[in-house]
């Protein structure tokens, strides 16, 4: 079972701002869903079963050739633009 404080920590890890009432609702729903996921515990799969990995079947490698966009295009979806740069909040 996870409590409200643990969900608050999860929201911090995922960097999602949340109001108190949202935290309470998510705590309830997350517990319900995790209780369902707990059925995986009863699965008797010893170490002889390898976890699924996609790379077993599919593989294609290509040369790493850059695709050039003009600065105007590359910045067209950014809103906080200063000259050829994107403004971001300060780190830390």
């Amino acid at each position: 079972m996870v409590g409200v404080e643990e969900v608050r920590h999860l929201a911090h890890l995922a960097r999602i701002g949340m109001k108190e009432e949202e935290l309470r609702l998510y705590t309830e729903q997350i517990n319900e869903i995790l209780t369902y996921f707990n059925m995986l515990d009863e699965l008797d799969i010893g170490n002889d079963i390898e976890p699924y990995r996609m790379s077993r079947e599919y593989k294609a490698m290509r040369d790493d050739i850059p695709v050039a966009f003009s600065a105007g295009n590359a910045l067209s979806n950014a809103k906080n633009v200063k000259g050829r740069f994107i403004k971001a909040p300060k780190m830390g």
């Binding site: 996870v2 969900v7 999860l10 929201a11 911090h12 890890l13 995922a14 960097r15 999602i16 701002g17 949340m18 949202e22 998510y26 729903q29 997350i30 319900e32 869903i33 995790l34 369902y36 996921f37 059925m39 995986l40 515990d41 699965l43 799969i45 079963i49 390898e50 976890p51 699924y52 990995r53 996609m54 079947e57 599919y58 593989k59 294609a60 490698m61 290509r62 966009f69 295009n73 590359a74 067209s76 979806n77 950014a78 809103k79 906080n80 994107i86 403004k87 971001a88 909040p89 300060k90 780190m91 830390g92």
Partner: protein
């Protein structure tokens, strides 16, 4: 303007008329845009229309009339002039692509997804971008920042999801063919609820380049159409390896041959399996079970043998699927930071973490729930208990499914265990909503192809039937659908006019 019977043409019929010049593509696209204008206020299938669709149509008309210097190459284009609806999580150059999220409400991609590029290359015209559950997370198209999509057959019911806009647009003849994406049933569920065809291809058969990521190891771009031949036309064009996507199957091109004209109209010699755990489940509605048994009799009349098998590990399919999907989502959606694109705020004087958290509070409720749970199952101390166990369960389910497919040509199941719910009926109970994906997620876990075929109607509500086959055996799925379509006659209204 084009008559309503022409608007309902299948893609292959339309292409024939366009090539002989008996339909002007400009008139056709204009009529379809007008139809969308008059119908879509109620259905809400589209988020954005392509402002250049008419211009593209005029260029095709010029080619057909010989007024352009394409040297007659139009004659080889198998989707010439066909209006294509594209789910709004598939990148379209110059056309807004929102994922039905506030986070991307004004995002305009700089390039086309490979599959879009291929379909456009064959002459298709993107008519618009369709509504969906935000980032593909949902089974009803109610979790959209642009409002729910209504089912064209019964307005107060959901269209299914997450590719609900594409399915509703097709059913209401507001497009001729459509693209969706299928992570755990998102093409097949709305196809079933809207009475159209929905194909989730073999993982790796279609390039995912340009599909905005939610759960990479599970999701595929899927194809949607009103007829089997249209689906085959799309598949021929869309399939194949792509160096931009390192998970496309190298040998896919050579493995796919789709000569429907020469196909048998029967299913003699075929062996199908149904899965006891699903058919007998309490969660399967009675009308759905009845329809499934009716479909079973139909394929037997066509010469197939159907037997029941048991796959006990399917009990863990939903827990495995949702654990993996949420884990991958929490990682994929970390990129939405409001800096380079998407929803943003004034960054001056704001600390990074505060800015990031504030921007990301604009995800919708289901997306937040999945990111939080994905963060949890990947976090230290829980990774082994949930994520690794889920991957082991996935390997087990996949192996058991493939064993069944060693003995049978296909697995036959309902597409959805329930009838289309009323809008608002299921949205407040997330776990209950996840449960309805039981018949579809197993194909994504195993990476095998699956096709939802429109089969019957119950009190005006569509019910689909689903077939799953071995890797790269899409031709078999199309053959089954073609045999059922040929035998069915007018049992299903294929299109709402």
């Amino acid at each position: 303007m084009v008559s309503s019977s022409k608007i309902a043409l299948s893609a292959y019929e339309l292409v024939e008329e366009v090539k002989v010049g008996s339909i002007s593509v400009e008139d056709y696209i204009a009529s379809m845009i007008e139809r969308i204008g008059s119908m879509d206020e109620r259905i809400n299938a589209y988020i954005t229309l392509n402002d250049h669709a008419l211009e593209e149509a005029r260029m095709i008309d010029k080619m057909v009339k010989g007024y352009s210097n394409d040297n007659g190459s139009y004659a080889t284009k198998s989707l010439l002039g066909v209006p294509l609806a594209v789910k709004d999580n598939i990148s379209t150059q110059g056309i807004r692509t929102t994922c039905a999220s506030r986070m991307l409400e004004d995002y305009v991609p700089l390039y086309d997804a490979t599959v879009v590029k291929r379909l456009k290359g064959a002459g298709a015209i993107v008519i618009g971008k369709t509504n969906m559950d935000e980032f593909g997370m949902g089974s009803t198209t109610e979790f959209s920042a642009f409002g729910a999509t209504h089912n064209p057959w019964v307005y107060e019911r959901v269209a299914g999801g997450s590719s609900g806009g594409s399915a509703a647009a097709l059913a209401a003849c507001m497009a001729s063919i459509a693209l969706g994406s299928d992570t755990g049933g998102s093409v097949r569920c709305p196809a079933s609820f809207c009475s159209i065809y929905g194909l989730k291809p073999t993982y790796g058969l279609l390039s995912r380049y340009g599909l905005i990521s939610y759960a990479n190891s599970l999701e595929c771009i899927g194809l949607m159409a009103r007829s089997v031949l249209d689906l085959a036309l799309m598949l021929k064009v869309a399939a194949g390896s792509d160096m931009q996507n390192d998970h496309t199957s190298i040998d896919a091109n050579s493995s796919i041959s789709l000569d429907l004209e020469s196909m048998n109209h029967d299913l003699k010699g075929m062996r199908f399996a149904t899965i006891r755990e699903i058919v007998e489940s309490e969660g399967t509605d009675e009308p759905v079970r009845d329809s499934m048994f009716d479909a079973l009799s139909s394929v037997e009349r066509l010469g197939a043998v159907v037997e029941e098998v048991s796959i006990p590990s399917l009990r863990y399919a939903l827990a495995s699927y949702y654990t993996i999907a949420m884990a991958e989502a929490s990682s994929n959606l970390a990129r939405y930071d409001g800096v380079r694109y998407g929803y943003t705020a004034q960054p001056d004087g704001v600390a990074w973490n505060e800015f990031y958290s504030k921007i990301r509070s604009n995800f919708g409720s289901e997306v937040k729930r999945r990111i939080m749970l994905g963060t949890y199952v990947l976090s230290s101390g829980y990774y082994g208990r949930y994520y690794m166990k889920a991957q082991k369960a996935r390997a087990l389910i996949r192996d058991e499914m493939l064993k069944v497919l060693n003995h049978y040509n296909a697995i036959m199941l309902p597409t959805m265990p329930i009838l289309p719910p009323r809008i608002g009926e299921r949205i407040s109970d997330p776990l209950r909503l996840y449960m309805v994906d039981i018949c579809t997620v197993i194909a994504n876990l195993a990476g095998i192809p699956a096709l939802s075929i429109p089969y019957s109607m119950y009190n005006g509500l569509p019910i689909g039937v689903q077939f799953m086959a071995r890797h790269l055996d899409e031709p078999l799925l199309l053959r089954i659908a073609y045999a059922l379509e040929s035998a069915r006659g007018d049992k299903v209204r294929r299109c709402m006019i």
